[in-house]
Amino acid sequence: MSQRTLFDKVWESHTVDILPTGQTQLFIGLHLIHEVTSPQAFAMMREQGLKVAFPERTFATVDHIVPTDVRSRPFADEQAEEMIQVLEGGTRDYGIEYYGLDSENQGIVHVIGPQLGLTQPGMTLACGDSHTATHGAFGTLAFGIGTTQVKDVLATQTLAMDRLKVRRINVNGKLSEGVYAKDVILYIIQRLGVGGGKGHAYEYAGSAIQGMTMDERMTVCNMSIEGGALVGYVNPDDTTFEYLKDRRFSPKGEAFDRAVAYWRSVASDANAEYDDVVELAAADIEPTVTWGINPGQSVGVSGRLPRIEDWPDREGARRAYQHTGWTPGTSVADIPIDVAFVGSCTNSRLSDLRAAAKVAQGRHVHPNVRALVVPGSYEVKRLAEQEGLDRIFEEAGFQWREAGCSMCLAMNPDKLQGREISASSSNRNFIGRQGSATGRTILMSPAMVAAAAINGHITDVRELL
């Protein structure tokens, strides 16, 4: 009787060889590339005279550096223009499918993979981006890799990897009104620590996770790396298969039924053995915000900023307060904001925009706040406009932008200025992350961002629902 996890099954079915180092040479089913981590990889390929082993398993888009207001070429930023040209050249020379600015498939790489049905259960996936575990929502082993590994995958379609341990995280029970997938993952990271997942894959399970939509599961898996876990996944089930039906790259007809049977078989066995199991109660999770400089430094919105001596990592808390300048013990709701950002691969899908629009509808952005909504893909933007979300946002005083990564990491013109404080639905509150070395980032759900934008300070979204 099999007692294997999804991780075991997918890892073993993709193992090519065990290397002399003890590492596994793992076949990669799907490789997603973009303009930031591919240029040097293409340069190394050319230098070494290598060919792309499986161009048909490689897909490219442009997301990180794309301006979200005026997208005309050449970009005002010469470096950004050079990056997109190198990607265009590389994909053309090596015969790789590329969804550029003029493609209806363009968008954040972790939004378009699932949207197109490229991401499927039981596969291995790699992308030169930290938040690749997003695709784990489908029961995919999805690895965020570095530029030299991007070259490895281009040239060989394999990676040399150390096998991970598997920690199952059960979130049991039902989430309360106003508590979203983002709150769940922020809570998990706060409980287990930003380094807690080192050497592990996280398997998210339990009734709260099973009850989530695919969009919500993607939000949870997306931030696995912020908890130190290279890989995070949810076992595929009917919710997964329903999502994949009729997507552009999903199998069709009988082939789909056969695929579903296979996809079902890769889920962890009921009696699978884990290296570690963590039990959490959904009822303990409230709308959550970060107060520091890493995603594990978070607190419930009804709480106060922690005292340094009460925080397990005192040195980390001290460094956080040094940067933010906030006073321990301050009520969370007393923190004012200057910028509100709804977007990023964590929270820019249609359901995220709907949740923020529900809060924004019939209200107005506070005069001290600059607020922007950046859809995760051209397709998300189109669907949102079809149901009038753009009008709701614009009437409320939010800017409605074009698809891209935007102010999640400020590689495009969307940046914080000086000491600005940002309420952000993104994934990292590291110092300097949103474009200003002295700026401050508070991570939260898209609905909470909208609530903060309306009131001009951190707000419990449950008051506005």
């Binding site: 930031v36 470096q79 460094r319 590689m411 110092i431 300097g432 992350r433």
Partner: protein, 45 residues
């Protein structure tokens, strides 16, 4: 192909824990298309 058994260079101790990637190279400086000029950006503030 010969195996790499030794690497030499200058070692620099970095103080503190939890050195996040945006401290190693802030994301907004990841715009080089070759490795040539990357040397300017580590631990840039």
């Amino acid at each position: 192909m010969s195996s790499i058994t030794a690497i030499s260079g200058t070692g620099i101790p970095v103080r503190g824990n939890d050195i996040d990637t945006d401290r190693i190279v802030p994301a907004r400086y990841l715009k080089e298309v070759t490795f040539d000029r990357m040397g300017e950006y580590p631990f840039y503030r």
